[in-house]
Symmetry: D2
Subunit: 382 residues, 4 copies
């Protein structure tokens, strides 16, 4: 079909380019072409490139980058390529090359950490509102709250896409490790110049086209550094994180299921049980203990829960498991409303990392306590 053909023709030209005068001009035209292709024609385009031009694909990528906003276009190309790769393994080599190049170009050494606040461009804040993945930003009033004096927000940016954040983290400055998301999102502003604790309560990757390229570890590291220098009273750095894989794991884990009493099961069957005080009283301990077990698994140094794996491989330790931490539909469905604090202690990061690689999850005493007691508690009358 015509459109994909134009793009292909331009691509073949770029494939032969080598310091060619036409390079940037052809690249600019190709960028416009690719941006205008609908999904079907783009799939055709990829098919043809995979068939004809795999050997020159690196050259083409580097030529496209010469166009105005070329890097951004390549990130967008990958965003549109990724869904296709699942069903068409022949496109894998295209993605492999593209991911390798983008990973190199977006190396942490090229990323700038920027603090985002209420003086940032409205257009940028609007993007954050769109990208926020964990705890949706419901309005400009909500956005403003998250940028108040007792909050911080940091993002990574790349010089080639100065207005588009790659990833951003939201932080609450508090006096203790937060146990519920409500205590952060609905808290009144506290103007305290000497908070002791920084709670990283949300991290959102913004660019689907940069999937699989790891930014989070470096972002947390640099944000902790930045905060520590700005606010010397900060002694504790912790997250308040979801446990996305917990419920699914429970459902598939016969041990746990057998361990639940009939009282437990009955409690779970109460409609909107998490708003029912009796159900919650019954379920708190068994579910917390199950979560402790789930989160301390790390066969071959890889925790089954992706968020746990992320923080533990960054060198955090399992600090505390929080019951009724998030009562949104999503959190109930994911993890019975439980959330967990992962704590980063600068002097122990490398040690924790080491231990985790060998399959041991570092944990605080409260978690150890949950593990010691058997799954079934005598006073629950099972």
């Amino acid at each position: 079909m015509p459109d994909a053909q134009t793009a292909l023709s331009l691509t073949r030209q770029l494939a032969k380019a080598k310091g060619d005068a036409a390079g940037p001009r052809v690249a600019n035209t190709l960028v416009a072409e690719l941006s205008s292709l609908d999904d079907d024609k783009l799939a055709e385009y990829f098919d043809a490139v995979a068939r004809e031009l795999v050997a020159e694909w690196q050259t083409v990528i580097h030529q496209i980058n010469l166009a105005k906003a070329g890097t951004a276009l390549l990130v967008d190309v990958r965003r549109r390529l990724l869904p296709l790769v699942k069903s068409k393994p022949e496109l894998k080599p295209l993605d492999r090359e593209l991911q390798k190049t983008l990973t190199s170009w977006f190396n942490g050494g090229f990323l700038t950490l920027r603090r985002i606040d209420w003086d940032s461009p409205a257009s940028l804040l609007e993007r954050l509102m769109k990208y926020e993945a964990v705890h949706p930003i419901t309005s400009w009033v909500d956005m403003r709250r998250r940028l108040a004096a007792d909050r911080r927000c940091f993002g990574f940016f790349h010089p080639s896409m100065p207005d588009e954040p790659l990833i951003f983290v939201q932080v609450a400055l508090t006096h203790e490790i937060s146990a519920t998301i409500k205590s952060i999102l609905e808290a009144p502003i506290v103007e305290d110049p000497t908070p002791s604790t920084a709670i990283f309560y949300s991290i959102s990757n913004c660019q689907k086209g940069l999937s699989g390229i790891p930014f989070g570890n470096l972002l947390i590291k640099r944000a902790v550094n930045e905060l520590y220098h700005e606010i010397p009273s900060l002694k504790t750095f912790s997250t308040l994180s979801p446990i996305p894989g917990f419920r699914r794991w429970v459902m598939n884990n016969t041990d746990i299921i057998t361990g639940l009493t009939s009282a437990d099961k009955a409690a779970l069957e109460v409609p909107r049980w998490w708003e029912n005080p009796e159900s919650c009283a019954v379920l708190e301990l068994p579910l917390s203990k199950a979560a402790a077990r789930y989160l301390t698994l790390a066969p071959q140094g890889r925790a089954p829960d992706p968020v746990a794996h992320f923080h533990l491989s960054n060198g955090a330790r399992l600090e505390r498991i929080n019951w009724q931490a998030n009562l949104s539909e999503n959190a109930i469905a994911e993890s019975y409303g439980l959330m967990v604090n992962y704590r980063y202690r600068p002097n122990y990061i490398e040690k924790c990392q080491e231990a985790y690689r060998l399959g041991r999850v570092s944990r605080a005493r409260s978690v150890e306590g949950l593990l010691q007691t058997p799954l079934r508690m005598p006073f629950l009358g099972n």
Copy 2:
């Protein structure tokens, strides 16, 4: 020996790093170590890396980049590695990987064109004075002249090294294609808002560690674009370039040598012949014709003169050969004082490039004229 060992030990750590917490910290320490090694210890370091760590060298490079000023350090590492590679071919793989990565990171899409003028930082101008390779900048007065209203200076910069130019070009805005460098360097300032001609009279690569990574073509292209938008009266874009390989070629070319008359040879033997009017009268035509022959050679699409090859492969054409264009010792030694104008005509660039690839050098009529006449001129009474 101790120093190289410390650096090696840190390098081994980085080689195993993969999202390792220690990454940036170890990288910063390694950067400091490498910067402190003298040439001998650095050579040791490279030897060991080539023996032990070739497979992980890419990883190490990407880890070093995480350090503060990591990219600049890698450029400096390559600057120090290059001289060693000539005598130690076993180090070639290290350079190959490093050059490949730097070429990708310094892709034109990441470079910013900046106009440099008298309002630029003194520290930057001081760097230009150090890096200027073609016509040395002799003093701050000279520097100031080159940044006056009838001059332009553009440089490429990379975000990771914002104060270090990668390459810069100097331009004179005039009314005709300059025939001598003196008419540029010693001209009084002309405040003319509508010049017709832009003469690119100097290009200097600034970073030895980025040797072999081509910036010049893109720089000229973008500078021409920039100038054309700023000054719509500009119609002609040309260089005034040295011919570094000319004299050596003449010395080794029996045809040319045989073609020289005894009068020619006598003229050349006069001490400081280029200041002697009679010698110059004798030599002008034979040497100009020889230059025309030299500059129109392009076997397999590659001119022997590196400056000619650069501009011709960029799509310029051979515009004019200038006698007594540069009377400095260097220019006399290189090319008998001859210089050449290469002219960039936007509508013909791709055509000229094509022709050049096929071995044909596009040339203006005046050059054609020099070629038509035989090497020996009857009126020279030979």
Copy 3:
């Protein structure tokens, strides 16, 4: 009382200061003191200053300006002083001096025109939403609409208060002179690169403390200039303005009242008559003609309507009177929903200004037409 006494004591120190070392220090303390005084104590403070320190008030003002954010504090002091001056004429000298100094400091030569758009800081946009006086900005969605590609927003800023706009204007880029505010506020975005008309539909002064200091004329002038250079297709520059004094004038004008027919009066008595088609049909002409009469009055070169006086003394002309231009409660109460276009024609500005000073309001033909016909129209059967 204590507080006002502390401020007074500091003020007496500043009154004696002359290059005194303590100047900035005392000024900073006084700024903090004054900011903390409630209205009563501040009134006391002013009373004492008026009694004791009128002779040194200029010195005090200049000393306060040395404090951090001193200029902003002085603007705020005047904001709080102005309401008191009405009831306490003894404070007039204080305001006179303060206004004189602020007028000099905020001379147009020190003001920067800045374009405000969706990339401006959210904090700045939030301020605009607060200051917008004419057509309230109802939400962030509304704010965003007013900064879209077919809109412009310009503000004046002073270097001493870089985040606080002094005055801002909102502009719609259209194809004809807008007749209703709805056609601007509720229009879908039009992405047209060559609009012919710029409608200035809102001007808001932001700083009450700078009342009486005229910024509007210069703002319009510079905004017109800016727009003309950015968009050469713009040929027509007009406002869409309210007529705040119209209804009051009608109510007090026996001529007009006698000129109204019983049908007119009946139409006006219909509840929410402006939503009643018959009432509107009856009232359009008589009210439009009355408005024409009102707006062409300029005894001694001063139109009774303050908005008219502003634009006419800037050199605009009365372009068109618009029936049912604004159906908000406020506009109905002010001017029966009528609005007017004042048009700025660069080549005629000085002429129109001259004429206005002599009592003649320049008007377009359509307005002339409304004036020619008598107030009572035969077909209205009166």
Copy 4:
């Protein structure tokens, strides 16, 4: 004559302007006219303005300020007016009004302290080299030395003239209070992160048109503040200052002259006596004591030496008198090569100021010592 007439005519227009549309346009034209008048025609212009327009001169000044670079033009107008005022007292009112307005506009609250270093624009450094009044900057190498890591340079800037410094100070970071200018200007760079002393060795006012408007006190205050925050190890802040009025005072002071022995006088008569060790040995004490007397005079709180008056009224104290501190021709002619340290001790500034106003110069013990001993020293065998 024609030129002055054009300027006068434009000035009369501005005199009548009041929110006039023509304001900025006429102002821009007048600015161009005034800039082109030679000294004679400008003198004519001033004469006419003084005769005709004194009452409207304030209005004219405020209108001129609306022009592009209007403030800078007014500063330049005053620069050219000042020399005329001496011989033509009828121009005094013009200068009085202009100085009053400029003093208000250049109030310290509007000035920005900027650190100037080797990364500052070359054009700015070139200006410093031109304006440096005390110790001429002899070359770019000298300029560079004065901006090295062990030096600081601060200037005041006004937003209306962002590239023109109003005044700048040069500081050396050392380990003790410098006794000679040579120890500063010719010192090798010392890279010490914890210097104890900041020596302010040069202050230069840059704008003749701003004569009589005091910037120095505030500059020193803010520079001390800036330095103290940047380098907490700094404990001592002192100047190394010339004594411009000393020699003249000695020549006219019979007491001192009578106090000189014949040996003293003979020593002074030796050609280039300051390079003669014997002369210096003889003269050190008598001249130092004379200097001590000179510098501790403050009848009615005003020291005869202008530099002394400046620092003492800023609250500094007389710290030390330095023999052979500056051997340049100028310094020998001014003060026999003596220089003085004025020391600013933050906790004593107000006290020292107070004392100085009452006629007492605060001095350190070494100076007190010089005063105690009589002018004639027995061991000099007089």
